[in-house]
Amino acid sequence: MRQIFDIHGGIHPPERKELSDPGFVMDCPPPSKLVLPVTQHIGAPARPIVEVGDTVLGGQMIAEAQGPVSVPVHSPSSGTVTAIASRAVPHASGMTDTCIEITLDGRCEWITCEGVADWRAESKAVLLDRVRLAGVAGLGGAGFPTAIKLASDRAIGIHTLVINGTECEPYITADDTVMQCFAREVVEGAEILAHMVGAETILLAVEDNKHEAAEAMKDASAHLASAEVVTFPTKYPSGGEKQLIELLLNVQVPSGGIPADIGVLCQNPGTAMAVRAALIDGKPLTDRITTLTGMALGKPGNRRVMLGTPIGELLALGDFNSETSDRVIHGGPMMGFAVTDLDMPVVKITNCVLAPTRSEIPPPQPQQACIRCGLCAEVCPASLLPQQLYWFARAKDQEQLERHNLMDCIECGACAYVCPSHIPLVQYYRSAKGSMREASKEKLRSDNSRVRFEARQERLERETAARDAKRAARKAAAEARLEAGDDPVQAAIERAKAKKAQQEGEQ
């Protein structure tokens, strides 16, 4: 048994995972239309390469990656592009973004996909390119382009690959389902990932409330000497990348750094499966397992959903009773955000759509004064002082916010969960972080222009000095010649006379 290390803080909210049975994948008929945002990942948006009226096949690329930190978008099924326009997309700020709308023809025709014959024989560059072209981005929630994460070349190298099957948020059972129903694919994906980054150890990390998933992982990975299934006590947010690494390896990711800095790579089980599909089947990422749950649904469960499926249509599949509910949450109850428009589509990061009844998740209570009880600091997994951050955020004191490491906040919401005064702490931190990012960008800009200005001043001074020096040198030389009786004017006259005399002589 591997030793499990303690992480600071954490909470034990009601799990509510029994609502959506992770044991099987429910049917999900194709929707009437798909709305595919060009940004479903962190990084530059993809650029549409189809036009309205084009017919597309399943698996066909419809938007290409722009720049290195970007991934393409593919059509999940066959149909016609009916619009390329701005639509509501899943985002905490409720913003809109360019989306490609495809009306499906129902024939489900796909392009021919071809995988690599033997991934062990291919170079890392070829494999990376395949992962990137298949549009794979982290399915756990952040949506970071997977190829970038795999390509990172720290001097220390990657020694451990962690498949993060913690899924510590209440309600969500999507990763649980993936691990139970696609255990072989997940393990094979993990093997490929470990091969690509050169990791010697694969840790399949599962919280102890997912017994079946842990067993499935054990069975599927029994043949791998390098792989180990690790279970650990259920606590939110053990599944945070940094928390999980400390819990498993007793090392902390340096502040402002990434796991690769200490030789660790974390991947979600769904992402591992998508990487496997990209390489072995040659299939791009066009669907995912999503948990559909909440008491306002008659038929909750896990479904294999085409990306771009409008959340409203998905809810209808689950027998959604809108009478009893007044909010729909994209993601889990701790870190998910409220859906503002039911036409909003399922995207690569949609691990859960939660439709609770009003009594299940009541509207937020009015905020009261902070009594500095310190419960927030007790539960903070980053060992921050949330109440101090709250006061500094309200005072817009950026210096103190920086000194108290606001940027290390992972926005897990544990502080707000326990706050007896019902203060929406995470909201304050998000907004303060935004201003701090702005300020540091502003500072960078002004620093850059100051450097440029100073460089220019220096150059001008240098040039003036050089000019002055030259002038002085010329003057000095002239004076020297004059003193030596060497009058340049006289000399020129004599030269001219001599030349004239010579010319006359020739004639």
């Binding site: 428009d341 509207p363 500095r372």
Partner: protein, 344 residues
């Protein structure tokens, strides 16, 4: 359907609210108040009821003056906690005007001039207490003798004491800490055995039981996770260490034994109900440990070398001043900021 647009997290810990916290603090004072009533009669209980009623009035008035909504803040029970803590610290059978001045100062000058709940830099109950102690030393030192039930003033006496024109001093007696303070020439052991007031089970008669009762209430709050152990343990440990150093086999000029200090006067009440006020103490666990320890040192120093028999209020207020400074030096190490050793 109209969709609610709220920010994460969407769920909240059940039964966690300011009212709940305050209610539990009030519940935890019950053992202490009952034991006080047993030894001193109904004086303290009446003080608390009268003081709380006044406090609600002062709070409503202050909120109204500040142009705030005064219905919902009244329901958070915080002002009742302030009044209760102050009234526990006042001598039983105090006149009404003493309580009124104390509660008024606590609520208005201790709390609302700084911006109300959560903004007070000083413990409001202790602000009220110290103003009274300095302004009305006679009334503030008239503690009743802890005789035990059957031999204590009755409820009528309590009402007379509260509302009579002249001060009610028929039953006042020196407390163990008073005797200790005035002790000159007597060995500590001798003091403990010669005076009836000192002959308690652990420390002074009655007072040791009062302290035990507040300890019990405090431990329950600790179990309910209303506060962490850091401040109380810091204070009790520091007080014990000081007493250990200062205890010279019990000479007449020595500092008194550890048990005497732990179970006399306001020690336990202070350790679990006063210095645990989160608003006016340090914020981190380490900071609260330091805060508590320094209060403990001050309590000892003032008890043994100062001019007042007990010292909790002064110790707490002085450390309230120091809390922001303590915070500066006790920030916990944030995840990922610890120095890591790089393998070569």
């Amino acid at each position: 359907m109209s969709l609610l647009h709220v920010s994460s997290p969407h769920i909240h810990k059940p039964f966690s609210s300011v009212e709940q916290v305050m209610k539990q603090v009030l519940l935890a004072t019950i053992p202490g108040v009952l034991v006080m009533t047993w030894f001193f009669g109904p004086g303290t209980l009446l003080n608390i009821i009268f003081g709380s009623a006044l406090a609600l009035g002062f709070e409503a008035w202050a909120l109204w003056l500040r142009g705030k909504d005064f219905k919902s803040p009244l329901k958070d029970h915080s002002v009742i906690v302030t009044a209760t803590l102050l009234c526990i610290a006042l001598p039983p059978y105090a006149p009404w005007w003493l309580i009124a001045v104390g509660v008024g100062v606590s609520v208005l000058l201790g709390k609302h001039v700084f911006g109300g709940l959560g903004y007070n830099p000083f413990n409001p109950a202790m602000v009220g207490y110290v103003v009274l102690l300095i302004s009305f030393p006679l009334q503030m030192s008239s503690w009743t003798e802890p005789r035990g039930v059957g031999d204590v003033p009755g409820i009528t006496d309590a009402f007379v004491a509260l509302f009579a024109a002249s001060s009610y001093d028929g039953v006042s007696a020196a407390t163990p800490l008073d005797l200790f303070r005035q002790n000159s020439g007597m060995m500590f052991d001798g003091l403990m055995t010669s005076k009836a007031e000192m002959a308690g089970v652990i420390a002074g008669r009655g007072w040791d039981m009062v302290n035990l009762a507040f300890l019990a209430g405090g431990l329950w709050l600790l179990r309910q996770r209303i506060f962490t152990w850091h401040a109380p343990i810091g204070m009790l440990a520091a007080l014990s260490v000081c007493a250990l150093i200062g205890f010279d086999e019990g000479s007449s000029t020595g500092g008194g034994s550890i048990l005497f200090h732990l179970f006399s006067g306001a020690t336990m009440f202070g350790a679990f109900f006063i210095i645990t006020d989160p608003v006016s103490s340090a914020v981190s666990n380490k900071g609260r440990l330091v805060f508590g320890a320094l209060v403990g040192v001050l309590v000892y120093l003032i008890r043994v070398y100062g001019n007042y028999p007990d010292a909790l209020a002064f110790g707490v207020l002085l450390m309230n001043f120091a809390a922001p400074l303590i915070d500066q030096y006790t920030q916990p190490a944030v995840y990922g900021t610890k120095k890591i050793e790089v393998d070569e």
